[in-house]
Point group: C2
Chain length 246, copies 2
Amino acid sequence: MGSAEPDIGCSSSLSTSCQRCRLNHLCLPLALEHHDIVRLDDIVVRKQPLRKDQQIYRQGAAFQSIYAVRTGAVKASFLDRDGEETVIGFYLPGEVFGIDGIGTRHYRSTASALEHSAICEIPFDRFDGLGVQLPGLRQHLLALLSRDLVEEQQHSVLLAKRSAEQRVAAFLINLSHRYKRQQLSSTDFQLPLSRTEIASYLGLTIETVSRVFSRLSKQGLFTLNQRDLRHCQIEKLQPIALAKTT
Amino acid sequence: MGSAEPDIGCSSSLSTSCQRCRLNHLCLPLALEHHDIVRLDDIVVRKQPLRKDQQIYRQGAAFQSIYAVRTGAVKASFLDRDGEETVIGFYLPGEVFGIDGIGTRHYRSTASALEHSAICEIPFDRFDGLGVQLPGLRQHLLALLSRDLVEEQQHSVLLAKRSAEQRVAAFLINLSHRYKRQQLSSTDFQLPLSRTEIASYLGLTIETVSRVFSRLSKQGLFTLNQRDLRHCQIEKLQPIALAKTT
DNA sequence: CTATCCGCTTGACGTAGATCAAGAACTCCA
DNA sequence: TGGAGTTCTTGATCTACGTCAAGCGGATAG
């Protein structure tokens, strides 16, 4: 996004510790007492900021670390053998990704930056070692995985049962919640995904997504220019997202 | 299934221990040394056999235990507020379910027996306590969750991108693998789900599922009477399940 | 300032799968 | 042994969304 730039900015945030990170109440440290956060800090690797489209890990690569988003946004996508890419998820600041590699010891998707982003890497074996001493951390990882599983189940239900309009409405509601969690506006924000990516994530075509956006904004539920969403009326989207399939 | 019966049979298997269970190489004990299995055994509750449609837990109930299937089959389904039921998963002998409740401390779906079934209950806090002493068990649970997450992601991709025929083919391949894992025939088995349940699980209608079954069996890929599948040619289903969406 | 590209929108048309409707086969029970 | 309730199949029709095709506006480059 941003202009040209040799400098990618935010070098200040590069040096941030978990203790001082404004996201520590959302992210892994939330499981820890103040004095234990230091120990997590020791193993967290704060990476060089990434440019748009830079990859964090690739599908099939050996699993080594889990990651957290500090700034920007990251998508996970799955490439099937005909070269078709499917967006299976995306992650906003404070969210953890890469945990789907724990079981198979291989990443099952490719993670890449959706925009300029800063991420934290947590080498898994060190994290696991820490878990021995800090049961809270262990519990938290378990809870994280379990909640991701539930979300993925809900995504499946969305794809299995809901119309295009319902999927798009649910997508916007979900985004809104996740921005709110970060103390950001829940009614005005940038879409982290392109139309193509949204379509892929929701199991639709780009044309359908575009038409649904047009229709909903014509109904006055929000205004949308490119990725710039404004005045989103979540309470009016809610009934659309739920609606009886009768 | 079976005839009338006051006795639900398999009372012998009721007394089985994990050590002697024929599924112990698939199920939780696989993570353990022989002499540690006894400790797992201590906390496992071998429940009364369940009849078809009996519930194990209900959506929204407080999370207490995780479960494993010993015989029979179990489905997990999600009820949305219009009363529509969606089948989100099903579990065969040796498989563990209920772990999606760990994060929220509430079950997010209802689990019920698809047929006469025997299940093992593992109270989660005792299990968790055991995990402190048996790191292998802890790792295994983590791996289990992570692999379930991957499978759920794959299910989402199936729903997002694949045609009715591809979904049904993938479903049969999946079943075949899971029966094989149990040392059962991978080409001849009973479908654990009704047409209605299969349709719900695959995001289709019952009519479409039925038509696809007819079409595929007319092509000689298998024979199917009601739930009785025979001579299933997995290697011919594979190309159908994958096929280019071009 | 004009050209090319890319992301997005919009319209016209086609189709896979949904819906509606009927009937066949199997199950359960009297 | 037969009738009522399931579950599954099959056909005829409808429709939401996909496909194809054109055009627009904003961004970057020459």
